[in-house]
Each structure stands twice: as C-alpha cells, then as structure tokens.
C-alpha cells in the first residue's frame, strides 16, 4: 500500500542520495502491521496497518506524539511483542521472536550489572557459541570503537549514563545484526551528552553495514540523524507521513540552522502538533499576580 510521502524541496545531491538509497536491497519489510492490546477493560489499538521498508544502510527515524505506538512498533520489530496481524521480515525471514539479527538499544539502561563492560559485550558472542578467547578479542575491538578502552573492566554502575548507552550500542553491534533498533536511547541523557552520542552514532554507522530504526520524540534528533522519518499519528498508531530529510550528509551540528533543517522541522511540527493545540487555546488563563506587576 502507498504511504503518504511529504515532499520537501531537495538539492540534486540529496535527490541522488535518495535515488541510490531506493535501489539498495530492502533489509526490513513491515507490512500491514496491527497490534491490539486486550485487557479486561477492553481493547486498545496501538498500531493500525503500519507498512514501511528499511533499505540496507538506511537510518530511519520513527517519530510521533506520546501514545502513537512508536515503542510498541519497535518492540514488535524486536520480536518482544507478537503482532496481531501483518508481518515483519528481516532479509528473507519473518520475525517470530527476539533474535540476534536485530540488535536493540533500550531507553533505560539494560547493561547486566553483574558483568563488566567487556563481559557485557561478550554476552551475545558467547550465546552464539564463540570461544571465550575470540569473543574477548572481538569485544575489545568494539570497546575501542565506542571509545571506552579505559573502562573495559569497570562495572556498569561505575559508568555515567552516556557511557552505559555506548556500551549498550557496542553490545548490540558485536552480534553484527542486520538491523539495529533504538528505542529513544538518548532521551534520559543531558543535552550535551545526547549531542555527543548522536554525533558518535553517525560516525559508527558510517563504518558499519547496518540499517538503523531509531525511535525518538525529539524533532532535532530525528532531523539530524535520519535519511527518512516515519511520522506516526496517535490513537490508533498509524502512519501519518514519510519524510525524506533534505539535509545533505555528512551531517554536522552547524546544519541545525540551515534552511533545509528548519523546513523539515516545520513540517514535522505541523504534522505532530497541529491536532492537539486547539483545545489548549480555549482554556482561560488564571491570573495570580497583581495589576501593575507586569513583566512585559
């Protein structure tokens, strides 16, 4: 089925980028995905008929207001929730449960507290039956890649939140998954750390053969990272639009003020926030200050 595509003006360079992207093979194929949660209180439709594809080495962001089902979507992709109907395919195989072909980085810190940084990264390798010596050597490479060489023998509680999320990324990547699912991985971090990790993620992604599905509610983050942005609409979660981000790569924080960046954000804002502003405007403002005490 056709997905509504929001078209923004693109430079020839960006145009070429998207044409090349569309020609790459499809790694992730989501078709007619519907997820209904049943409870004694009734049924909640979290996702309705969501379809999209992810190409090889594409960075796809999923964005939407809270309650739009973006976390449910990523959990279904990971295989942690079974879809009510529809299908998720990675490569040629249908997803039937969690597996190491889809790495996941969670919003909350999920490093195993009883394992050191290196042991955490070796966890997936060992599950694949890799010999301890080889797994150890591989783990060191991933630790070097995320720049935590000095902390490889530290326990997670000794690391800052940003460092923990880097280890989580390295842990997922060590399995060499086809798709990396990231569920608001930086939302618990402070602004500076988040910016650093976004930059870091782009750097890693450039060097790894990886399709990334990145869930976020942050418009800047989505515009900065994504090739394409999937906008979800809440109640029930449906695809509102699919946007090709016209900001050229390689990306840098200076582009935050470029016309393409601002145009993308304006479109996103309109799509996400246009519906729910009306009821707020009606509410009368309660005045708690004295007359003559105006600040502007």
């Amino acid at each position: 089925m056709a997905t509504p595509l929001e078209q923004l003006p693109q430079s020839p360079q960006v145009r070429a980028h998207f044409e090349a992207l569309a020609k790459r093979e499809v790694v992730l194929r989501v078709e007619g995905l519907t997820k209904v949660f049943s409870s004694p209180q009734g049924e909640t439709v979290a996702l309705r008929d969501v379809s999209f594809v992810g190409h090889r080495r594409e960075l796809l962001c999923v964005i939407g207001a809270s309650g739009c089902g973006k976390s449910t979507l990523v959990r279904v992709l990971a295989g942690l929730e079974a879809p009510t109907s529809g299908s998720v395919r990675v490569g040629d195989e249908e997803v039937r449960g969690p597996g190491p072909d889809r790495g996941m980085v969670f919003q909350q810190y999920t490093l195993f507290p009883w394992l050191t940084v290196r042991q955490n990264i070796m966890f997936g390798l060992k599950r694949r039956g890799m010999a301890a010596g080889i797994a150890d050597r591989e783990a060191r490479q991933w630790i070097d890649l995320v720049g935590l060489t000095a902390f490889q023998d530290a326990y997670p509680r000794q690391l800052s939140g940003g460092m923990q999320q880097r280890v989580a990324i390295a842990r997922a990547l060590a399995n060499q998954p086809q798709v990396l699912l990231m569920d608001e991985p930086f939302s618990a971090l402070d602004a500076q750390t988040r910016a650093r990790l976004q930059r870091h993620l782009l750097e890693i992604w450039r060097n790894v053969n990886l399709t990334i599905v990145f869930i976020t509610h942050d418009l800047d983050e989505a515009t900065y990272l994504a090739d394409r942005i999937l906008v979800l609409r809440p109640h029930p979660g449906e695809v509102e639009a699919l946007i090709e981000v016209p900001v050229p790569r390689p990306r840098s924080p200076e582009q935050f003020l470029s016309p393409e960046f601002l145009a993308t954000k304006r479109v996103l804002e309109k799509l996400i926030y246009s519906d729910d502003e009306s009821d707020e405007a009606e509410a009368p403002m309660l005045r708690l200050t004295r007359v003559g005490d105006e600040v502007f």
Binding site: L80, P98, G99, P100, M104, T110, F112, W114, L148, P156
Partner: protein
C-alpha cells in the same frame, strides 16, 4: 551541632554523631543494668541474709523480700530476740554485669556435673551443627524452588498456594510428628528448622526473583539468549545478590527455631545448657549463653556481609545496611568503595 539537624527527615547524620549514637545504643542498656546492679538504693527488692539471728527459717546467703524482712525484724525485736541482719540485694535472676562477664569465661571452664553431660562449648557446637544442617538442607531445596517460582508461572501456581498454607502452621506443631518419624536425636531438630525456614524461603526467594528488571531479560533475548540459557545467564546472576541478603535474614529466623527444636525429643545444645543452668540458679551462665548466641549470630552476619562484598564486587556498597556497613563507614578509610570514575575522566572519554 544544631539539634534540628539530628531530626532531619531521611538525611545522614554527621560522622561523629553516628559514632556517638552507635556507642549509646550499647551503653544505655548497659548503663541501666549497671546502675540497677551496683547502686544499692535502686530497686534491690530483696535482702541478702548475712546473720540469720533468731529467725528460724533463715540461712546465710538466703534472699528474702524486703517487706517480709522488715516485718520479721520488727517481730523479733518486739519479742526481745536477735533480729536477722543482711544487705539489700537484687533477685537471683539479675546478676551484676561483672558476674556475667566472668561467666562468659567460666561457663566454658565449668565441668559438667555428670560425666555423660557435654561441656558448654560442646553444647554450643551441637547447636551450631543443627542450625547448619537445617539451614543448608532448607536452602538446597528452597533457593532453586524459589527461583523457579519467580521465573516460571507454572511453578509459582503449582507451589505457592500450598506453601502459603503450610507457612501459617507454626513449625513447632510438627515436633511430635518429627519425633515419631525421625526418632529422638538430631533428626527431628533439623526437621523443625527446615520446616520453619523452607516455606518462608521459597516465598521470599520467589519474590526477590520477581523483582528482576524485565528489561534485562528482554535485552538478553535480543542478544540471542533464550529458554534455559536465559535462566542461567540472566535470572540467576541477576537475583543472586538479593537472594544472598534474603539468606542472611532467614538465617536469623533459623536461630529462633533452634530453641524450640532443641526442646524436642531429648533436650540438647545451648537450650539444654540454659535450662540446666537455670535449674541450678546459675543465672549468670544463662545470660552468658544468651549473649554468646547474640555474638555468634552477629558474627555470622558480619562474616557473610564481608564475604558477600568479596563474591559480588558489582554490588554498590550502600546496598548493605547491616551493622558492618555502619562500622565500615565509621572506621577511618572505611568509606572506600570500589573506584568511581571521576567526572573529569568520564568527560574525556565521552568527548572522544
């Protein structure tokens, strides 16, 4: 120090206040005991007879109520007879601190009255072995079962209802049955401790297991762990520290059941010693035995806490709320936990 800082809601006290309060918590009861023992006009409801005089039933060393003593004295004086003499004393069941302190040593040196009876240290050791076997047997069954119940709904539904039911039956009611089945020696005693501990243990361990963060299980699944591997690589290491703390608490409960257990069948161990000494009115030995139980309990807990920190280096130090943790905080240099990366080194790495 301002007074209101001592009453700040959920705030740490200054180091020195901590130390002073900890000393006080021991010194206050000890001080009351000392005062009542050595200050003659405090309490001392009895009179220790030194000279019986013409009081027919009195003997040297006898303890008589002060009222009775005064009446008898008045009666004898009125009759022109020699009144008894003595000094105020506490009842025999309240020995003075120095007597108990001495008994802490002499209890070990006192030969049993009959050659067939055990020495004090043998009684103690017997109690310790009963606890050890009771608790070990209980744990061998209870911990795996608890972890299974906390992990699989199947085991929880199958086990927990009946465990909840049995747990309300006080362990001592099984005493007579245990003797009938296991004889009169150590068997029923160990059984009582197992019954008293096991059912609590299953529920407590199951609850601790349920508190494992489900996100860790999900993360492990996305990394390729499943089924039994998930239990051995995530559930067990994830709950082991909490279960270890549970075990320390449960070991304390096991000591409670010991006293009942030792009365079942033939009385043995520390309970036998206490009953026996009370019968001989050697109350200082009774207190000594009670204090030694306390010391063994506390000592074991401190040892286990210390071991726990060695075995589980990933646990944050403040998770340990036992007395040892407080001690360590007070001792010079005792605050040292495992190395925290300083904020500067963290930011250097993050900047890469």
């Amino acid at each position: 120090m301002r007074v209101h800082s001592l009453f700040a809601v959920r705030k740490e006290l200054p180091q020195r206040a901590n130390f002073a309060l900890m000393l006080l918590s021991f010194l206050v009861p000890l001080g009351i005991w000392t005062a009542v023992s050595y200050v003659p006009f405090l309490w001392h409801p009895k009179v220790h007879i030194e000279v019986p005089g013409d009081l027919e039933y009195a003997t040297v060393g006898m303890l008589i109520d002060r009222d009775t003593f005064a009446e008898e004295r008045a009666r004898l004086l009125a009759a022109g007879l020699e009144p008894p003499r003595g000094y105020r004393a506490n009842p025999v069941y309240l020995p003075a601190p120095h007597e108990v302190a001495r008994a802490l040593v002499t209890a070990f040196q006192t030969e049993p009255r009959r050659s067939s009876e055990p020495w004090f240290h043998q009684s103690l050791w017997h109690s310790v072995t009963i606890i050890f076997w009771g608790f070990t047997l209980s744990s061998v069954a209870g911990v795996p079962l608890g972890i299974l119940c906390g992990t699989y709904a199947l085991f929880a539904r199958l086990t927990e209802p009946v465990v909840e039911f049995i747990r309300y039956m006080p362990a001592p009611v099984f005493g007579a049955l245990a003797v009938a089945i296991l004889g009169i020696h150590d068997g029923p005693k160990i059984a009582i401790i197992v019954i008293g501990t096991l059912f609590q243990q299953v529920l407590v361990v199951a609850n601790s297991t349920r508190r494992l963060d489900p996100a860790l299980l999900e993360a492990a699944q996305t990394l390729g762990a499943r089924n039994l591997t998930l239990v051995t690589t995530v559930v067990v290491p994830g709950v082991i520290t909490r279960v270890y703390t549970d075990m320390r608490i449960l070991l304390g409960w096991a000591w409670t059941y010991l006293i009942v257990a030792e009365l079942i069948g033939t009385s043995t161990g520390i309970t036998w010693f206490i009953t026996q000494q009370a019968r001989y009115k050697n109350y200082e030995n009774v207190y000594a035995a009670i204090i030694i139980i306390g010391l063994i309990g506390l000592g074991t807990d401190l040892l286990l806490a210390w071991l726990g920190r060695r075995i589980f280096p990933w646990e944050p130090g403040q998770a340990d709320s036992g007395l040892l943790a407080k001690w360590r905080q007070l001792l010079p240099g005792g605050r040292r936990l495992s190395p925290e990366p300083s904020s500067t080194s963290a930011s250097i790495v993050q900047g890469s």
